[in-house]
Symmetry: C2
Subunit: 376 residues, 2 copies
């Protein structure tokens, strides 16, 4: 049963990945399988539908479900698979509506987002309580749950003073973020009340196209670049390749934590293979390095120059309501202590994305990048 | 248009009360009307249904909706009334599922509670944004959102140190409480993002039967005493009248803020008539005095002795998972500064409840008081 690796004797784990067809879910399944774990994936494919509905597509083509299933089987259709949680060591919950602007379109999308995310988490917690309270819930949250307070951001809990041990206050910036904050509070409650155990991951913004398992065209993971599902670095890379200006929202001083897809997988594996104690609720802040949007745009320009291309930047009205100049000092120590070491240069990562996008230059629909959904 | 009162020139306000058929909603409508305001009430009567479904009733009989409508008209049926928010100065939102144990019965009731409360608040905020962003949203939250931290509890926001100004951390103790915390975060977001204004009221536990407008049998407000909808003082009074032991949950050291129904109305009126600035989100902690459950049981025994009755107390296993000995120092200064002065003795208030219940001794169904829903 043991899988020898990293000098430790690792035991094969039985792992369920919810949201297995997604940007992170798909390569995570391949990674976990390559590490010798028994991996079951589940997805309802609603993300593919939503991206279509907003008029966009994955810039890098991804295999149709039936082809993906020949590489790694994702269960779908009947929900009955989801109702059998017995025997799993870890349940990785990535099955959420992940876009803030998508949630801010109007009341319908706000309610759809909150409903999917909140009810999904609540149902999962109840199923775990009833069927498998010993399993480790690995839940993807977002650094965005913290907002941008003017103090340093600890990993989940206040570290000193009279409020020591209380959850660090959250300030959500969209209905999507509100749904994630609710998830967090729900999971903490379930651990405290029912004795479940969970790692609640406050993840920074993920970017990139490459992990070592994505070694065949049919294995590629999705690459979104539109105003809803495209996050900033991926969107900038797509804009550079499509030869349209990089759209910097507002002042550009907005500062966040970032990590490449390969690091996201590495961190998730660290969380899965190093579970918390029974009844423990722990929070990992998960990111590699911190950049402002303006700095990212400058790095993209540099990456383009290195590739003999030219990128232009254009400041546009900020569609969001957010601080554009702010303090940002989040901590990220727990994953470092487990061995995570971000070992990359941002412009090299950007070059890799741009190189991977160049063959698909004409797959990029320029019309869906510019933000039309605003917070007002 | 002016209504002379308290030495100030008060203007008649147009006020919408959502949840107008409820324990607080009904007497609040009568109070606001008696103060000269133009009051519109709305209710879907789901509370009456739910109390029936759990096998209980209002110990003090309340008028059927058609009779109530002859006293004060409550709009119901078609939701179209709710979609016309134009012209209101204040919107009082009391239309939520208010019971923690009800939400903890199983996944269905947990989801029903979160769904009703969260979607109700979200839809209301969107309607206000679109139709009447200047209206003052008066939202009933609960002191329970704060949990029982080992530090003092401020009014909504951290007051000093590096986290000054951030929301005070919440620790919900049930899915009901989680839904209320979500409401709070949603409303704060709507004020910060859309410029709405709101008073978010963290209310203590309300008890009692009397307000000066409830001066006729057909005007009485509901009185719940069952395990789901009966809160501790009202439940203890019903148990004393029904001659069954007062059920103290666990150690009885659980300590909370309390206020009589008449004070709840007074405080709500203070909030309504003293609105926040445009775009302001403010939090009022709303309670009169602080007691432990054990102290309340002793006061009930005293009230009974004063009335020539006898009450017995019985400690039972705590159905909830909660701290039974804890620090509890919440602040309640903002309402005091507006003039609120809790001016009553707890045993006298309890005597009044017991006197009002005695004629309805045989309306009390003893079988629905003992807790069967547990947190485990």
């Amino acid at each position: 049963m043991g899988v020898k690796r990293q000098g430790w004797e690792k035991t094969t784990m039985k792992i369920l990945v919810l949201g297995a067809d997604g940007y992170i879910g798909w390569p995570l399944c391949l990674r976990l399988e390559s590490l010798g774990h028994e991996v079951h994936g589940f997805d309802n494919y609603v993300r593919r539908l939503r991206v279509k509905e907003v008029g966009s597509n994955s810039a890098i083509p991804i295999a149709e479900p039936d082809i993906r299933n020949n590489i790694f089987e994702i269960r779908s259709g009947s929900l009955k698979y989801l109702y059998e949680l017995d025997g799993y060591d870890a349940i990785v919950h990535l099955a959420e509506q992940p876009s803030a602007p998508y949630s801010m379109q109007n009341v319908r999308f706000a309610c759809e987002t909150v409903n999917q995310n909140v009810m999904g988490t609540m149902n999962l917690l109840y199923l775990m309580k009833e069927q498998n309270p010993d399993a480790h819930l690995v839940k993807l949250g977002t650094m965005g749950e913290y907002g941008t307070p003017s103090c340093d951001i600890p990993e989940g809990f206040i570290e000193d003073g009279p409020m020591k041990g209380l959850p660090f206050p959250k300030q959500a910036g969209s209905f999507y973020h509100l749904s994630k904050v609710f998830d967090t509070q729900c999971i903490e409650f379930a651990c405290r009340t029912w004795g479940l155990r969970s790692t609640d991951i406050m993840q920074g913004i993920v970017f990139g196209t490459r992990t070592k398992e994505l070694n065949h065209p049919d294995k590629m993971t999705r690459f979104d670049y539109d105003q809803y599902f495209g996050t900033v670095i991926n969107r900038f890379c797509a804009q550079a390749v499509a030869e349209v200006p990089l759209t910097v929202y507002g002042g550009g001083g907005q500062t966040r934590g970032f990590l490449p897809l390969k690091d996201s997988l590495e961190c998730l594996v660290l969380a899965i293979e190093n579970p918390p104690a029974h009844g423990e609720y722990r929070v990992f802040n998960q990111f590699g390095k911190i950049y402002s949007v303006t700095a990212l745009a400058a790095y993209i320009e540099r990456a383009c120059r290195n590739l003999g291309m030219m990128a232009r930047t254009k400041a546009i009205d900020n569609p969001r309501i957010e601080a554009e100049m702010h303090h940002y000092e989040p901590r990220c120590e727990k994953l470092r202590m487990l061995g995570y070491n971000p070992n990359w240069e941002i412009w090299e990562e950007m070059e890799a994305i741009i190189e991977d996008l160049i063959p698909y230059k004409y797959h990029i629909n320029k019309k869906v990048i510019y933000p039309t959904t605003t917070w007002k």
